[in-house]
Amino acid sequence: MVSLLLLFEGGLEVSRTFDRIASVLFLLVGIFFIMESRKLSASAYGSEVGPDLFPLGLGILLVLLSLRLMVETFRYPSAEMKTTKLDVKRFGIILLAAILYAVLLEPLGYVLSTFLFLVVAFQTMEKGKWLSTIVFSGLFSSGVYYLYVGLLKGTLPGFPL
């Protein structure tokens, strides 16, 4: 039974810094919602309860909870953190590619932008094998486009010009 419990407790890894930053951010979000909901009217036609009440109450709750989290971070045991090596480069390239994909989707059209994104992403995941990368990306992007637009009559940005 103990070993079972350990399975659920396994991999406990609390980051004090992250939680502190997060608590400050959530605190700011809470304050923002409190400030902004005070600009909303406090009553609605035929009712004493206005659209401000719910976000105002939740904002206060969020502020209280983030303060509590901040207090908790000071009580964390100062254990050595297990640092997993992160592949930041790979993540950065794919994230950037995804953002460019979102920017270019409408100007370039679905088929071209998806094809380009997939080629970049496949090559980032594993270099080489250009032929299979190009064939696979081409099949996916044109396949989805013709299935969705041709067969199901949906709308996707077509081709430039």
Binding site: F8, E72, R90
Partner: protein, 508 residues
């Protein structure tokens, strides 16, 4: 009409050829999702919502909703089953509810009994699905009749109870879970207030008037979040896959697992009905129970078939049980059911007591299709076990970019706006960091889905009472719900103070 007539009509809906195909696609994709490392039931269902809305685009709204929910529910219980395959063959559970299955399942696989373990898991899942179905048939009508008597005050308190239950059991830190819940509720207030028509927190940004789209946030947090995790952390399972020789279990296997399957199904079902306690807890408790009542407890952990049969039945029973509060009360008890609920709302079908009156086709069609879907799972999984074992070997280099592309396609196809694509990417990044630091994501999605309803009921109740807050404690049923909600939050804290370890639910 009696319950049986409704059920009969439900079967008529579920047996329509296109719905049979949807159920089949659902369980097939669901099993694949469960088997694939990196996508769990939650992201699987979220990812498929856009695809289903595309598939059902031409049909009349009622039928489209029925077909879509049949497919998505198929993904849900298919994924529950698929998760066990990796536990048994690789000793790496595909999702948290099959963690305990790995204990005995992998040992069985090492002894060359992988086929028996997999097929017993299929039989157990099927039986549990049938138990959940029968209970759903009997409980649906009385529960929704009871819920019809609820006023806004009762509804408000019931939803607060639902949120507290999920927050109390999600993740290791209750503070973090509550923060996520409140944050989800706050995000839900963005957009036009549907009571007074006032625009809130929109700042003349046209995309915000509709509010943040639930689908975009769910796909971003779960699907993209998990994808980013596997990109950053280079997850790889190098373990050798056990060979499968004999697929069908022996007579002795069947005899030994009959009892655990029945007990696991019932226990799983009742745990599933409780909000917050999901499939993970169900499988965990049923394993402990079997070990306790077994005459040879030392067998467990060394390849006991009971240790596979019980938790696998329990986690499927729980996913069936979780449908009850969703369909009858309109309150999802877990992350996955919250996503299913969001899907229903997208089709303009409001889950809750009126569902059975207003959309009997959807409600009973879904119930009937759960039976058919479970039968399909059984038929599909016995012979296809070897094929699914192959899916495990899909190289992540293809899988990860394709998941991103499908998320983009899905969100764009539904929203037709690049704003949602940027929101999607942002949610993916946030989802990764939040989940990594133990901020549970399910309460956020739950808050986002329940937010508008909680606010409506709160304001309706307060309007009726002229702003008097005591309405929530003077109505006895409402008071009862609130007391349970508070207890749900306090009891784990008290247990922790007394030095007890509290089991938490990792994923819905």
């Amino acid at each position: 009409m009696s319950t049986w007539e409704f059920l009969y009509n439900g079967f008529l809906v579920a047996l329509q050829p296109e719905n049979l195909i949807y159920a089949f696609i659902g369980v097939l994709i669901g099993t694949a999702v469960g088997v694939l490392p990196g996508i769990g039931p939650m992201s699987g269902v979220a990812l498929l919502i856009p695809v289903t809305s595309t598939l059902t685009a031409g049909a009349p709204p009622e039928e489209a909703a029925a077909s879509a929910i049949i497919l998505l529910a198929g993904v849900y219980y298919g994924a529950m089953y698929g998760g066990s395959t990796t536990s048994i063959l690789l000793n790496t559970p595909g999702e948290s509810s099959s963690v305990v299955t790995a204990l005995d399942g992998y040992q069985m696989a090492k002894q060359g009994r992988a086929g028996a373990a997999l097929s017993i898991a299929a039989v157990g899942s099927f039986f549990a699905g049938v138990v959940a179905l029968i209970a759903l048939v009997f409980l649906a009508q009385p529960l929704s009749e009871l819920a019809l008597k609820f006023g806004p005050a009762e509804y408000f308190s019931l939803m607060i109870l639902g949120l507290c239950a999920v927050s109390g059991l999600a993740g290791r830190s209750m503070t973090k879970a509550l923060i996520m819940t409140v944050f989800g509720l706050l995000l839900a207030t963005i957009g036009i207030d549907n009571v007074s028509g006032v625009a809130r927190f929109t700042y003349d940004i046209p995309e915000l008037y509709q509010g943040l789209e639930f689908l975009t946030i769910a796909v971003g947090l779960f699907a993209l979040g998990e994808v980013f995790k596997s990109i950053l952390e280079r997850e790889q399972n190098e373990g050798a896959i056990a060979r499968i020789d004999r697929i069908y279990p022996t007579k002795k296997d069947l005899q030994e697992s009959a009892g655990p399957i029945v007990r696991g199904s019932l226990l799983g079902f009742f745990i599933g009905v409780l909000p917050g306690a999901g499939a993970t807890l169900a499988s965990f408790f049923s394993y402990i129970m079997e070990k306790k009542i077994s005459r040879q407890p030392e067998k467990f952990g060394k390849g006991a078939i009971e240790g596979v049969a019980a938790p696998e039945s329990a986690n499927n029973g729980a996913s069936g049980g979780a449908m009850i509060p969703l369909l009858t009360l309109g309150i999802p008890g877990s992350g996955t059911t919250a996503i299913l609920m969001g899907a229903l709302i997208m089709y303009n079908v409001q889950p809750g007591p009126l569902l059975f009156d207003e959309h009997p086709q959807v409600a009973w069609g879904l119930i009937a299709s759960m039976f058919i879907g479970n039968l399909m799972l059984l038929i599909l999984n016995m012979p296809l076990v070897k094929v699914f074992a192959k899916i495990i070997q899909t190289p992540p280099k293809y899988l990860i970019p394709i998941i991103i592309a499908i998320s983009f396609f899905g969100v764009y196809a539904v929203q037709v706006h690049t704003f949602d694509l940027f929101l999607l990417i942002a949610c993916g990044v946030c989802g990764y960091f939040l989940a990594k630091n133990d901020f549970p994501l399910a309460p956020l999605v739950l808050g986002l889905v329940l937010g508008p309803m909680i606010e409506n009921n709160l304001r309706r109740a307060l309007t009726a009472s002229n702003g008097d807050w005591s309405i929530f404690v003077t109505h006895p049923i409402s008071l009862l719900f609130l007391v349970i909600a508070i207890l749900w939050l306090l009891v784990p804290i008290l247990l922790k103070l007394r030095g007890k370890k509290v089991v938490v639910n990792e994923e819905g």
